[in-house]
């Protein structure tokens, strides 16, 4: 597996080059991957990657190869980024580009990479009181839910899914703060919210992965599909991975974080993501490998320092 090693070094070099945008001061204790064996990487990530079991699939071969261990802490995207801001994790894997960009702009993160994507789906009880089944316009569907005041459970926890849900409400022009009792903020993870929605026959916005993983145990159907099944682009759900800036927190395991990013964005890591299934269905679609360089993934979108024409046509946004 020396090839993988070389790819990792290449990724590290690429990361280093991108790091010029943020910082280039490695706290020079040890360079390269020589010193990472035996260390522990703390990864904060979203409930969707964790609860679906994908992380175990990715982490086990990484741990074996480098002789390290990965402590994966599952939090909402907002909380995961907050933990990273405090320097309590070394790398974050999340899915809310706007929050990731903010994290990068404030100097806490370096070397962001696009990792994979899946999509969001609007799910609800089979009786579909708002009549949104099969709609291909999620904004209209949300408006119909609000007009019929059908029960809706929101994550309400600053997670990537919650961020996306608020973005959709924003598109409808309706004000979430004026919603009545039919709109409930759970303040809990996706799984808990799906359980709540099942109990009440409510609608909710879910990432496809968590829904597929729980599909057999709940009584909910997909009413509005995401782009994977031909639904609207607004429901796209891209995941990124960001290393915590060692210039801000010199205790973070930066080399190990870059090794991890290198591994999961390598052909091998991307294969693992592509082949991971639940109930026979693929949950995540790899996005890190590309014929053409996409430099925009390393820096916040629309970042002012980027003077190179900025053709930000990233693959799925």
């Amino acid at each position: 597996m020396t090839i993988q090693r070389r790819e990792f070094v290449a990724a590290l070099a690429a990361g280093g080059a991108a790091g010029l945008a943020g910082c280039s001061t490695l706290t020079g204790d040890d360079s390269g991957d020589a010193g990472i064996s035996g260390k522990t990487l703390t990864l904060t990530t979203t409930t969707s990657t964790y609860n679906t079991g994908l992380l175990d699939e990715l982490n086990a071969p990484f741990e074996d190869r480098y002789g390290v261990s990965v402590d994966a802490v599952s939090q909402g995207t907002g909380q995961a980024l907050k933990t990273a801001r405090n320097g309590d994790s070394d790398v974050v894997m999340v899915h809310a580009r706007s929050l990731e960009d903010e994290f990068m702009e404030e100097g806490y993160g370096v070397n962001r990479r696009d990792l994979m994507y899946n999509d969001f789906v609007v799910i609800g009880g089979p009786d579909d009181p708002a009549g949104i089944g099969g709609s291909d316009d999620v904004t209209e569907a949300f408006t119909a839910i609000a007009d019929s005041e059908s029960s809706f459970v929101s994550r309400g926890d600053d997670s990537g899914t919650h961020t996306k849900e608020l973005e959709i409400w924003d598109e409808t022009g309706l004000n979430v703060n004026e919603f009545g009792e039919w709109y409930q903020e759970a303040g809990q993870g996706m799984g808990d919210v799906i359980n709540m929605a099942t109990q009440q026959g409510s609608y909710t916005l879910s990432d496809r992965g968590t829904y597929l993983d729980m599909q057999d145990e709940v009584d909910l159907e997909i009413h509005v599909q995401g782009p994977i099944e031909g639904g609207p682009e607004l429901l796209a759900n891209p995941y990124g991975i960001v290393a915590v800036n060692p210039a801000v927190h010199d205790n973070v395991e930066y080399d190990l974080a870059m090794a991890y990013i290198g591994f999961i964005t390598s052909p091998e890591g991307q294969d693992l993501i592509e082949n991971y299934t639940a109930n026979g269905e693929q949950l995540f679609y790899p996005e890190a490998l590309s014929e053409e360089p996409n430099f925009q993934q390393y820096v916040p979108e629309g970042w002012s320092a980027d003077s190179t024409g900025n053709s930000s046509d990233s693959s799925d946004e």
Binding site: N51, D56, H249
Partner: protein, 238 residues
């Protein structure tokens, strides 16, 4: 980790986890709770004896504070410990966040008032004349303390048990400071029975959560049995 759901399978014909996984969770739960309660007991007993033996201004207030601590919300304790051990906090350089040590700290803070409060009640209820008699027979303060502990041992055992019960059944603070971490090889690092139950319930796997719950109850029952047995040996004060 198997993705097969247990819904269609009768319980126990296909046990939904690796035995290593469940064993490591039990080990972590016991390690954290026992360590926290042992430390609590070491700190609490002297305090309970000191407060129980002496009369001073503000004794009632102190007792109220201890009793209030018994009902302290665990998530608040978890947050406070997180602020303390976080990289940005005063103990940040020790890198304790998401470790068992941090979990022990939070469980200690939760269990100590319980152990102190219940032992204080037990110590206070030992008849004044027992203590007087011990003094009268020429006992030192230490002798009197030992006599009191002996008289109150059943109450103190109850205190330790209550502290243990609080620690092992607590979920909020260990989730915040421990992070509910299990390795990819299926062993727990900071995952306890309670946080595992929380996770399984979140994933909609209620059967698995129930089984873990039964394990948790069984552990509490066994520990209770052992302590009651120890407390009743040799007869005497009940």
């Amino acid at each position: 980790m198997s993705l097969e759901s247990a819904t269609t399978v009768p319980l126990f014909t296909e046990f939904p986890f690796e035995w290593n996984y469940i064993r490591s969770i039990i080990v972590v739960s016991l390690y954290v709770s026992v360590a926290a309660v042992a430390l609590s007991t070491l700190c609490s007993l002297p305090v309970a004896l000191a407060v129980g033996f002496t009369d001073f201004r503000g004794k009632g207030l102190l007792t109220s504070i201890i009793n209030t601590g018994m009902g302290f919300p665990s998530v608040v304790v978890g947050l406070a410990v997180l602020f303390t051990v976080s990289n940005e906090g005063p103990l940040g350089s020790l890198e304790l966040v998401f470790t068992r040590e941090a979990m022990i700290m939070s469980q200690f803070v939760l269990a100590a008032p319980v152990v102190t409060g219940v032992s204080l009640a037990a110590v206070s209820s030992v008849e004044q004349n027992v203590r007087d008699a011990a003094y009268a027979m020429g006992g030192t303060r230490l002798d009197v303390a030992l006599v009191t502990i002996k008289e109150a041992r059943y109450g103190i055992a109850t205190a330790v048990l209550a502290g243990f019960g609080r620690a092992i059944s607590e979920v909020g603070s260990v989730l915040i400071v421990g992070g509910n971490i299990a390795s990819a090889d299926g062993t727990s690092k900071t995952r306890t029975l309670t946080t595992a139950i929380q996770l399984e319930a979140q994933r909609g796997r209620f059967e698995t959560a129930m089984i873990l719950g039964v394990v948790l109850l069984a552990i509490v029952l066994v520990v209770n049995g052992i302590v009651v047995r120890l407390g009743s040996d040799g007869g005497g004060y009940r």
